[in-house]
Each structure stands twice: as C-alpha cells, then as structure tokens.
C-alpha cells in the first residue's frame, strides 16, 4: 500500500445539543481518516448523527448545538481550534448541503450567487469571475442560460446540479456532500451520483459522501463507514464491507436493502435508541441477534482487525 497522503483526519469528534432534558449526543466520539482523491462514504439510518457530524467538521453547528471535544486535522491544521476558517471555506473545503432544494437565495440570479463565492475569496474582476462560473456550469452539464435564471425557475435536479457547480467553483481539495441524492427521482439521482464521481476522476477532488441509501454508496464510494447511534460501527473498502461485512449491524443493514435480485428482505427488529441516553455498552446490543453479556456492559473499542478494516465489535477480535 503506497504511502497515501491523508486529506482529513477526524479524532474522537463529539457534537452535543443542550436541551432542557439534558445533553443530546448525536455525534459521540467519531474517528477516521479520509485519504486524498477518494470518495469516502458515510452511511447510516436517520438519527445516527451523519448530518450533525458534517456540521461539526465544517464548524456550522448552531446553538443549542456545540462541539464538545475532538480534533479535525486538515492539511496539518486543526479546523476546530482555528480562530476563523472562512478563508479556508470554499477555497479548500466546500459543502453540498442536505436541503439543496432551498440552498439558493430566492431573490438573486444563479450567477450572482456563484460570483459572490468567487469574489469573496479571490480578488479578480467580476467579468472574469462570470467566465469561471459559466465554464463551471458547462462542466456540470447545465446550459449557460441557467446563469441568468432565478432558483424558482429550476427543477429539483437542476438546483442540485447548480449547488454542485457552486461547490466546485474554486476547485477545492475536499467536498463534503450531505445527502445530495435523497429527495431526487431515480434518474436524476443517477446523474448526480455520476457527476460526484467525476469530481474524483476528472478534478482529483476528495469527497465525503453522506447518504442513508446503501445502494447509492455501492455505486459511488471507494471506502465506506457504517454509522449507528452517534458512533462508527465499521470502516472498510466498499467491496469488503458489502461482500463480507464484519459488524452484525452492517450485515443486517445490507440485507435489509431491497433490490431486484433479492426476493426476500429482512428488517432489523426493535427501534433506534434515543440520543438523549444511548444504551450502555455497545449501542446496537438491544437489537443485535448475536449480542452476549459483555456487549451490554462495555463499549467495544474501535480496532483495525485487518489493514484498512476497522470494526467495533467483540465478535471480530
């Protein structure tokens, strides 16, 4: 394995939400590394903390949320301790938000919003910035006259592509995409997945792709992390995790995804736990068919059982 340079390293990140009933802990100690020029998938069901995690590393957490602890090393700087990272934003790290349907300012033309991003980071003339915007729109497969349009004139799929175009304007090295395909039709979804793949192949960017649809991960990502109840259960290459999942939750989750090939699909009994008080020990033990005494007493540590494969479960020591 050649020495792959690391793009971003997350160490024991915790993002909590204050509330009258006590602290909600959606992200409760997450660590992993994303290598350069790869699409890193973060999978998990709703309520597992994926979106809060993204807001954490991008420092977009709004009160009553706060970053409890942890480090995010990006180009050997800790993003969380930097005083202000707005100059890094968009030049180095860009973000495709979850609600991209209404991430565009309804009263500004598309080009005005994109030029905004350019001129506030790079001091070039507006005309030159417009050139950049127009060429970028072409690269993402959008016609030029979209630039003069207002957001309400575009369909959902087109708005998503405009957001992707905006995110890649300044050719950042890392793009964080939070559920970019959730609310889209299957055909548009496929084109969005393909244009994200192009970011890696054509522009050599690194992408963190967050989605709950495992099939979308299978089509796109190189390495995948399965997240549950605020912690990472398993990390590995997409082939290893899909074909030979180690963690019981990964096994059940992959089995639960319907597909044209499988006639029988089995769900996971029980209910996802509440972030107000996570279960003691391994957080999946109440729903895990292979759980035994130790699972409910002590939280399994996150170990590298094989090169590049991490898992937090006593069964796979």
């Amino acid at each position: 394995m050649r020495a792959v340079d690391r793009m971003i390293e997350v160490e024991d990140l915790r993002v909590y939400y204050k509330s009258v009933l006590g602290d909600y802990k959606p992200v409760d100690g997450v660590s992993f590394t994303v290598n350069a020029n790869e699409v890193f998938g973060l999978a998990g069901e709703s309520g597992c903390g994926k979106s809060t995690f993204v807001e954490g590393i991008l420092r977009l957490v709004k009160p009553p949320g706060y970053i409890k602890s942890g480090k995010v090393i990006f180009k050997d700087q800790d993003l969380l301790s930097l005083k202000d990272i707005s100059d890094l934003r968009w030049k180095e790290i860009s973000y495709i938000p979850q609600g991209s349907m209404n991430s565009l300012n309804p009263v500004l033309r598309i080009e005005e919003q994109m030029i905004d991003a350019v001129t506030s980071h790079v001091d070039i003339a507006e005309t030159e910035a417009r050139e950049m915007v127009l060429s970028n729109l072409k690269e993402v497969g959008l016609p030029i006259d979209v630039a003069r349009m207002y957001p309400h004139e575009l369909s959902g799929g087109m708005k998503q592509r405009v957001v992707i175009a905006a995110a890649t304007l300044l050719k950042p090295s890392l793009v964080v995409a939070d559920e970019p395909v959730t609310a889209l039709d299957v055909v548009v979804q496929r084109s969005i997945i393909q244009s994200i793949a192009e970011l890696r192949d054509k522009f050599g960017m690194t992408v963190i792709f967050v989605a709950h649809d495992l099939a979308a991960h299978a089509e796109l990502v190189d390495r995948i992390a399965i997240m549950y109840a605020g912690k990472i259960m398993e990390i590995g290459s997409v082939h290893d995790v899909f074909l030979d999942p180690l963690h019981p939750y990964s096994k059940l989750l992959i089995a639960a995804v319907p597909s044209l090939k499988k006639k029988v699909v089995k769900g996971i009994p029980g209910l996802p736990p509440s972030p107000l008080n996570w279960p003691v020990g391994c957080r999946f033990h109440p729903r895990c068919p292979q759980a035994f005494a130790k699972c409910s007493e002590e939280l399994p540590s996150f170990e590298e059982v094989e090169t590049g494969r991490f898992v937090a479960c006593y069964l796979c020591r």
Partner: protein
C-alpha cells in the same frame, strides 16, 4: 413578460373595485345616519339669522340647499350625481364650515400638513424600525439586542395617543420645554424664513414623536421575527458555508429577503396614517385634515367629512397599488413566474 402584464392588470382591477366599494360604503353611510344634517344646518342657520321666514321661503331655502348639497331626488339619483360629480370634475360639494368654498379646496389647504407631519414620520419610522429590527434580529443574543426587543415589544401595541399623553405630560407640562398645540408659533407669519422653519419643526416634534415611537416599535418586532426566520433558512447556512463575509451575508441574503414583506407592510400602514391623524391632530390641534375632520364633525359639515374620507381611501388604495406594482421589481419570483 406575459405573467407580469397579468399581474399588473389584476392589481389595477382590484384597485378600481376597492375604491368603488369603499366610496359606495361611505356614500350610503352618510345617507343612513339618523337625523338629517341638512335640517340641523338649516335650523342652525335660522338660529344665527334669528329671523323666521314664512313657511314658503323656508321651504324654498331648504329645496335650494338640498339641490346645492346634491340631496334632491331619491337615493339612487343622488348616488349617480354623487359619482358623476366626483369622477367628472372632482367636486365634493360645498362645505358648511366656510360655505360656498367646495370641500375639496378646503381639504387641499389642510392636506399638506398631514402629509408633512404623519407621512414624513411614517417613513422615518419604517426606515428606522427596519434597520434596528434587522440588527436586533441579526445579533439575536447580544446584550443590547434583548432590551431593545423587550422595549419594542411593550411599545408596539400601545396606542400612539397614550404615548402622546405621556409626552404632553412630560415635555409639555412638567418640563414645559416643547409646545403642545398648533403647528407653529402663532405670532409668526408663514414664510420661508429660518425662524419659521425652526418653529415649524419645534411644534411638529411632539405629535410626530408620539406616532414614530409606536410604529418604530411595530417595525422592529416584525423585522426581527423576519430576520430570525430567515436565519433558519438553508440558503443562509449555504452562504455561510461559502465563506462569505458576515456583512455581505447580512446585506444580500438576509436583509434582501426580509425587506419584501416589510415593503408590503408599509403600504398597509399608510392606511393607518389617516386614522392616526384624526386623533393626533385633534390632541395637538395640529391643522391637518384630521383636525379639519374634527371641526367638520362638530359643525355637521358632512360634505367635508365625506370628502376627507374619500380622499384618504383614494390615497391608501393608490399607495397599496403603487406598492403592488413596485413589488415585482424587488421580488423576482413574481416577475419571472415560469
């Protein structure tokens, strides 16, 4: 530009319809009030001239007055002449107060005072209120934000004339530093001299302040909640993620979206000016149409009263129409409906 043309025609139709409906309501309102204002006026006339013309002359005089005041014929013909008079030659009929001067001329003399006093303070209140409201909303948890909000919260719903009472009490009597009656020093002759202008300002200070204070508070509250709702919108989060400067996000993303409803709100508040002028001008005996209205009611001069009503309706609906027509310029969603 077809959708825009549709939007304009729809608004103009609504405009004409509303004016027509409102003036009809006014017209019938006067006719249905118990007690006959003409009769009262004539008996007042007779009392003043203290002579008792025979029944014949009195009847002729009444008939003549009825014709002059457009009260002859049945209700419907009166209504038709009423409309004809207004639309064709903008004549609102003679006023009682200083007969035979037509009501519209009389009103025209007093109107500039109201426009000057309340029109001007409404604009100040809108601008000041929105700026303050936006800042309070934007810096939600700052230490100066909260007190301003709670002060505005209290003030916003209090009727302006309470504030007027307090102002009169404090500045007019306790400190006795500001005049509380009239529009300018009585010994001054209205001309463009510096002295007259300052006296004008001084006299207008208390009335406009009582109006400005309450409406500024109202605008602060509405703008603040607009800004706070927008703070939760996704495009704000996206703008922040783009690393734009805080000031730019505030100006082009938050303020721009928040101003739209506030603009329509301003047109609606214009209607309030004519209501407000009635009380304020009578409390400060400031010679605007509100004051004229008070006098006209006292003297049962019902042409002037009706005239003032019609003019204020006309002014309010026109303001609303202008605001509706201006709206597409600031909100592209109307202009570019696909």
């Amino acid at each position: 530009m077809r959708p825009l043309v549709l939007y304009v025609t729809k608004r103009v139709i609504a405009y004409v319809l509303t004016i027509f409906l409102a003036s009809t309501v006014c017209f019938f309102l006067f006719r249905l009030i118990p007690g006959n204002p003409i009769g009262a006026y004539i008996s007042m006339l007779m009392a003043q001239q203290s002579y008792l013309p025979g029944a014949e002359e009195a009847r002729k005089v009444i008939l003549e007055y009825k014709r002059v005041f457009g009260l002859d014929g049945d209700l419907f013909t009166q209504y038709v002449n009423f409309l004809k008079e207004i639309i064709l030659n903008q004549n609102l009929g003679p006023s009682f107060i200083n007969f035979p001067k037509p009501a519209q001329v009389l009103i025209a003399q007093y109107l500039p005072w109201t426009i000057g006093l309340l029109g001007f303070s409404a604009v100040i209140a809108w601008v000041l209120g929105n700026i303050l409201g936006a800042l309070v909303g934007w810096k939600k948890d700052s230490n100066w934000g909260k007190p301003i909000f709670y002060l505005a919260l209290g003030l916003s719903q209090i009727p302006f004339y309470f504030v007027a009472i307090v102002l009169i009490l404090v500045f007019g009597y306790m400190l006795a530093v500001l005049p509380t009656r009239g529009a300018y020093a009585p010994w001054l002759v209205p001309d463009l001299s510096f002295e007259f202008i300052t006296s004008l300002m001084l006299y207008a200070l208390l009335p406009s302040l009582s109006f400005v204070l309450t409406s500024v508070a109202g605008w602060i509250i509405s703008m603040r909640s607009m800004i706070i709702t927008i703070l939760g919108e996704d495009y704000l989060l996206f703008a922040e993620a783009k690393g734009l400067k805080r000031s730019r996000i505030f100006m082009r993303y938050a303020l721009r979206n928040a101003l739209l409803p506030q603009a329509t709100g301003f047109a609606m508040s214009l209607g309030f000016i004519f209501s407000g002028s009635f009380v304020i001008e009578n409390m400060f005996s400031y010679p605007g149409i509100g004051y004229l209205f008070g006098v006209a009611i006292g003297q049962l001069d019902y042409n002037t009263v009706q005239g003032i009503l019609l003019i204020s309706i006309f002014a309010v609906t026109t303001a609303n129409l202008l605001m509706d027509l201006l709206y597409p310029l600031i909100d592209p969603r109307i202009r570019y409906q696909r």
